[in-house]
Amino acid sequence: MFKLIDTMKIVFGGLRTHLSRGILTTLGITVGIVAVVGMGTMAYSLQQEINKQFSSLGSNTFFISRRPFIVGIGGHSDWRQYWRRKNLEVDYLPTIQKNSPHVQSIAPMLWYRQNARSGDDQLDNLSITASNENLYDFSSYDIEYGRFLSPSDILYRKNVCVIDRKAAGILFPDNLIPLDKRIKIGNIPFKIVGILAEQTAAFGQEQSAQAIVPYSTAEKYWGGGWGLQFIVEALPEKMEEAIDEVIVALRNLRGLRFDDENDFELFTSEMLMEAVSNITRVAYIVIIGIAAISLLVGGIGIMNVMFVSVTERTKEIGIRKSCGAQPKDILLQFGAEAIVLSTIGGIIGLILVLSLSLLAKKAVPFTISIPGWLVIVGILFSAMVGLAFGIFPAYKASRKNPVEALHYE
C-alpha cells in the first residue's frame, strides 16, 4: 500500500514537471473517448427511444396481418406472393375468441389518413384507427371525457369518433371538451363521443393527431379491407399459448390443410422491435468502430510519449536501480504513469460527453441518457488503452542495465 502511494507520488511529480506534454497526451485520449462514448450514447438513446415506442404496444400483445410487417429487407422478390393471400375477415373474430381461452381480448384494426375539419379549423393528416369496442382493452387507450366506441356503434355503422387531446386542441381551439360536436373527416360528418387522455400512444402515432372510428363505418366510406389487421392481447404470462391457439383457429377458418403454410403473418411487438433494431445496429457498430480508431491513435501517442519519457529519465532509472529498486518497481512507476494519463483523459472525455448531452437535450426530440455501464466501460477502456500502450515502454525501462543507465548522457 505504501509502495503504491509512493509510486503515485513519483508519477504525479513526473507529470507536473512536463505539464504541457501531459495535457496533450491526455487530449488524444479525451478526443477518442468523446467519440466512442458520444456515439455509444447516441446509439443507446435512439435504441431506448425505439424500445419505448414499441413497448407501449404492450408486451403480451401481438398482431396478425395478411402481409409481413417489413417486406423487401431480406430480398424483395417475393412480395407478390403476399398479394394473393385472402383478406382477413372481421367475421373471424368471434370464432377466434371462442376457441382461444388464453386470449384476453382481440380487436380489428384498419389505418387511414384523412383531413379533418370543424368550421374553419383544418387538421391535415389525421391518423385514423378503425376498430371496435374491444380496442379499449388495450393498455394504450384511456378515455378522459365521454365514452369509447360501443357495440351498437359498430353494428349500426354510426358516424361517431373518439379523438385525442391533440386533435381536439387543433379542431376546437376554444372548446376544451368538444363532446357531441360534429367534425368532418374527409368530408364525412362524424360526432365526437369521447376524448382520449394524454398518453404515450402506440408506435409512431405520438406526434400526429389521431381519431378512432368504428371499423364498419370506416370500411363503408373508405374501403381498404385488404389492410385489416388483428391486435390480440394474451392473458398475462400466457403469450405462447395464445399465439398457438390463434394460429390454429385462423388455419381452420381459412381452410388450410395440414401441409399448407400459414397464409397470414403473426408478429409480436418484440419481433417488430427486433426488425427495426437489426437495421440500425449495423450502422451503430460501424460508426462506433470508426470512432474507436481515434482511441487507438491516442494510445499510440501515449506510447510515443512514454518512450520519450523513459529515454529522458534513463539516468533517474539508473540511480533508482542502484539504490535497490527492482525491475518490478520501475515497471510499476512507468505503467502507472501511462494509466493515470489515459484515465484522466477518459474522465475528462466523459465529463465532456455529459455536458454535451446536457446541451443537446434541448436540440433533439428524444431523451438522451448515458447508461451507467457506458461510463464505467469508458473509464475502464481508457485505462486499458494506457496499460496496453504503456506497458512496452515501461518494460523497456525496467530492463535497463543500471550501469549503462548511469552512464547515459
Binding site: S20, R21, L24, T25, L27, G28, V31, G32, A35, M39, G75, H76, S77, R80, Q81, Y112, R113, A283, V286, I287, I290, A291, I293, S294, L295, L296, V297, G298, I300, G301, M303, N304, V305, F307, V308, E312
Partner: protein, 406 residues
C-alpha cells in the same frame, strides 16, 4: 535553394536519430489517413453504384405516372388521383413537339405456359413499338412488334431473355411458337437481349405485348406509366413543360388546381438518395477525421518535446547566425516530412483496405483521386496547424537563454 536543402538535411538527420519516435508519430497519421481514405472510397463506390443503377432508368427519359417516385410515405394522398390512360399518351404524342418517343407501359403479373412448362409471377408489360429505343432493349432474335401490330391488337409477344431461357431448351427456336399468358395464346416474334437487373429486380423476367392487346384482356382502366424521351437531352426541361401542359389540358384541370399527375426522372431518385445519405456519410467522414486530429495532437506533442530537447542546439544555431525563419523552417519541414510519409503510406493502405473490403464483401468501392488529394491536403493542414506552434516556439527562443538551458 541551398538553404532549403540544408533544412531538409537537418530534418532528416534529427528524424533518423529518433527513429522509433518518428515511426510512432507517423503511425498515428497513417492510421488516420487510412481510415479516411477507406471510408471515402467505400462511400464513393456506393454512390457510383447507386448512380449507375439509377442511370439504367435512362438519363433523359421522363416517367409520367399517377404516383411520384418520392412520396415521403404520403402515397395515400395520391391514391385518389385519376388513372393515367391512353388518352394521355395520345395527348403527349400530339401536343409535345420535342417528344421523340412516347411509350406507354402497363404491368401485370401472371403465369406463362409453354407446353408442359409453366412460369409463375412473370411481368407482362403492355407497350408500343418504341419501347426498344427508349429502354435500350433490342431484340436478340426475331424482331420487336410493329406499329400496325400495336394498332391492330395483334396477339404477338416479345420475350425477355430470362423467360426464353426458362421456357425453352437451349438452342430451341422460339420464333413463331405460341405461348399462353394467363390463358391467352400469343405468338412469339422476338427475344430481347439480356438486360441484367436494377435494384435486385431482374429485367429479363418479362413478356412484352402490344398495349392494345394487353388492354383488350386486362381492361382499359389499369393505370399506365408513360415514358417520354426528347430528341436530344438538352430538350428535357422543355419537354417536361410541354408534357405538363398537354396533361393538364387532357385531364381538364382548372388554372387554380394542382397537377394530379407526377413527372418523374432518375434525377429525382438521385437527389433523394443524396439527401438521405448526406448526413450519415458526413458523420462517418467527420468521425474518421477525428483519428487524424488525435494523430495531429500526437505530432504537436512530439514536436514540443523535440524543441525542448534541442534548446541548446537552437541556441547554438542562433548564436552563429541562424534567423527565425531558418529555425521555423527546420521544424516545419520535419513535421511535413512526418505527415507526408504518413499520408503516402496511409493512402496506399487505405486504397488497399477498401479494395480488400469490396473484394470480400458485397460493398463496392471506388479508388478516387479526390480521396487521395483530400488526405494529402488534410494531413498537410494538420501538420502545419499542429506543427506551427512548436516551430514558432523554437524560433522565438532567446539564444542567450537557450544556450544556458540544461
Amino acid at each position: 535553394m541551398y538553404f532549403l536543402i540544408e533544412s531538409l538535411r537537418t530534418a532528416y538527420y534529427s528524424l533518423s536519430k529518433h527513429r522509433l519516435r518518428a515511426i510512432l508519430t507517423t503511425l498515428g497519421i497513417v492510421i488516420g489517413i487510412t481510415t479516411i481514405i477507406t471510408i471515402v472510397s467505400l462511400i464513393d463506390g456506393l454512390k457510383k453504384t447507386v448512380t449507375g443503377e439509377f442511370s439504367q432508368l435512362g438519363t433523359n427519359v421522363l416517367y409520367v405516372s399517377k404516383y411520384p417516385w418520392i412520396s415521403h410515405g404520403k402515397w395515400y394522398v395520391y391514391r385518389k388521383r385519376k388513372a393515367i390512360t391512353m388518352e394521355e399518351v395520345n395527348a403527349i404524342q400530339e401536343r409535345c413537339p420535342s417528344a421523340a418517343y412516347v411509350v406507354p407501359i402497363v404491368d401485370a403479373y401472371t403465369e406463362v405456359k409453354y407446353g408442359s412448362r409453366k412460369l409463375e409471377a412473370i411481368e407482362i408489360t403492355g407497350t408500343n413499338e418504341f419501347y426498344p429505343q427508349v429502354n435500350g432493349a433490342y431484340p436478340e432474335q426475331g424482331r420487336f412488334f410493329s406499329a400496325s401490330e400495336v394498332n391492330h391488337k395483334q396477339r404477338v409477344c416479345v420475350l425477355g431473355w430470362g423467360v426464353y431461357n426458362n421456357l425453352f431448351d437451349h438452342g430451341e427456336d422460339p420464333l413463331g411458337k405460341w405461348i399462353r399468358v394467363s390463358g391467352i395464346k400469343v405468338r412469339i416474334i422476338g427475344v430481347l437481349q439480356k438486360r441484367g437487373s436494377v435494384f435486385g429486380e431482374s429485367r429479363d423476367n418479362m413478356v412484352l405485348v402490344p398495349i392494345d392487346t394487353f388492354q383488350k384482356h386486362y381492361g382499359r382502366r389499369i393505370n399506365i406509366t408513360i415514358q417520354v424521351m426528347p430528341y436530344n437531352p438538352e430538350q428535357l426541361e422543355q419537354l417536361e413543360d410541354e408534357t405538363v401542359i398537354a396533361l393538364r389540358q387532357v385531364r381538364r384541370l382548372h388554372s387554380w388546381e394542382e397537377d394530379d399527375f407526377s413527372i418523374n426522372s432518375q434525377d429525382v431518385l438521385l437527389q433523394e438518395f443524396k439527401r438521405t445519405t448526406k448526413a450519415l456519410f458526413a458523420a462517418m467522414v467527420a468521425i474518421s477525421a477525428l483519428s487524424l486530429l488525435v494523430g495531429g495532437i500526437g505530432i504537436m506533442n512530439i514536436m514540443l518535446i523535440s524543441v525542448t530537447e534541442r534548446t541548446r542546439e537552437i541556441g547554438i544555431r542562433k548564436a552563429i547566425g541562424a534567423k527565425r525563419g531558418h529555425i521555423l523552417l527546420q521544424f516545419l519541414i520535419e513535421v511535413l516530412i512526418l505527415c507526408w510519409v504518413g499520408c503516402l503510406i496511409g493512402a496506399s493502405l487505405g486504397f488497399g483496405l477498401a479494395g480488400f473490403i469490396s473484394a470480400v464483401t458485397p460493398l463496392p468501392s471506388a479508388i478516387s483521386v479526390k480521396a487521395g488529394f483530400l488526405g494529402l491536403i488534410f494531413s498537410s493542414s494538420v501538420a502545419l496547424f499542429f506543427g506551427i506552434y512548436p516551430a514558432g516556439k523554437a524560433a522565438n527562443l532567446n539564444p542567450i537563454e537557450a544556450l544556458h538551458y540544461e
